[in-house]
């Protein structure tokens, strides 16, 4: 967390809130939620950036995508 923090009130499904507290406890809650929100925001931004590039330069070829996929470890 940065030095300046804003308080937000959010609602979660009860089962999710229980699992969250069980996993990180009360003290770790803010940090966990901040990391999760940051990650989701980054994903949204990255998706928008890829769309912007596609509009400017056209789609990425299937061959380039296949080559990129092979670079990652299998799951």
């Amino acid at each position: 967390m940065t030095a300046s923090a804003a308080k937000l009130s959010v609602s979660l499904p009860a089962t999710l809130a229980k699992a969250l507290r069980s996993r990180v406890g009360t003290r770790g809650l803010s940090g966990f939620v901040a990391r999760a929100v940051a990650h989701e925001l980054e994903r949204e931004q990255l998706g928008s950036f890829l769309t912007e590039l596609e509009q400017l330069h056209g789609p990425v070829s299937k061959a380039a995508l296949a080559s990129a996929k092979r670079a990652w470890p299998r799951r």
């Binding site: 980054e42 994903r43 950036f49 080559s67 470890p73």
Partner: protein
């Protein structure tokens, strides 16, 4: 700490100047698209900016890519810097390869990482002993 895609100078330059570097940009876009599918973090180690940001009036395309595009600058910490020194020594490379060493040391902060690079030779040499790192030549 999760899975990450690490971009080096050529990768970030290709994304910033996609019209001039069409082939490299397509490969960089492809690896970004797979990173998005895999929910991987996308990071640019801070020392990379020392290579790509050299004249402020020409830096606008780089800043465009780094401002709210889901590509985040990873700060250089003391532990990353010290690890980079150890990597240079292991690989018997000089400080001329320091930025590459910072890139590999930054990648080692994650559980698994792919380094997208335009010059894989030194990166592969630096990462040779670390199986959790893969190298993707753009």
């Amino acid at each position: 700490m999760a899975e990450a895609l690490i971009l080096d100078s050529e990768a970030i330059n290709a994304l910033a100047r996609a019209s001039e570097r069409a082939v490299l940009a397509e490969r960089a876009r492809a690896i970004l698209a797979i990173a998005l599918d895999r929910r991987a973090l996308v990071r640019v180690p801070a020392p990379v900016l020392g290579e790509v940001c050299q004249r402020s009036r020409f830096d606008a395309p780089i800043n465009h890519v780094l401002n709210d595009r889901g590509i985040v600058v990873q700060d250089l910490t003391r532990s990353i810097a010290q690890r980079a020194g150890a990597l240079l020594r292991e690989a018997r490379l000089s400080s001329e390869s320091a930025v590459d060493a910072f890139v590999v040391a930054s990648a080692l902060e994650f559980d698994h990482a792919i380094i997208a690079t335009g010059d894989p030779t030194d990166i592969q040499r630096l990462a040779a002993r670390h199986r959790k790192i893969r190298v993707f030549a753009i």
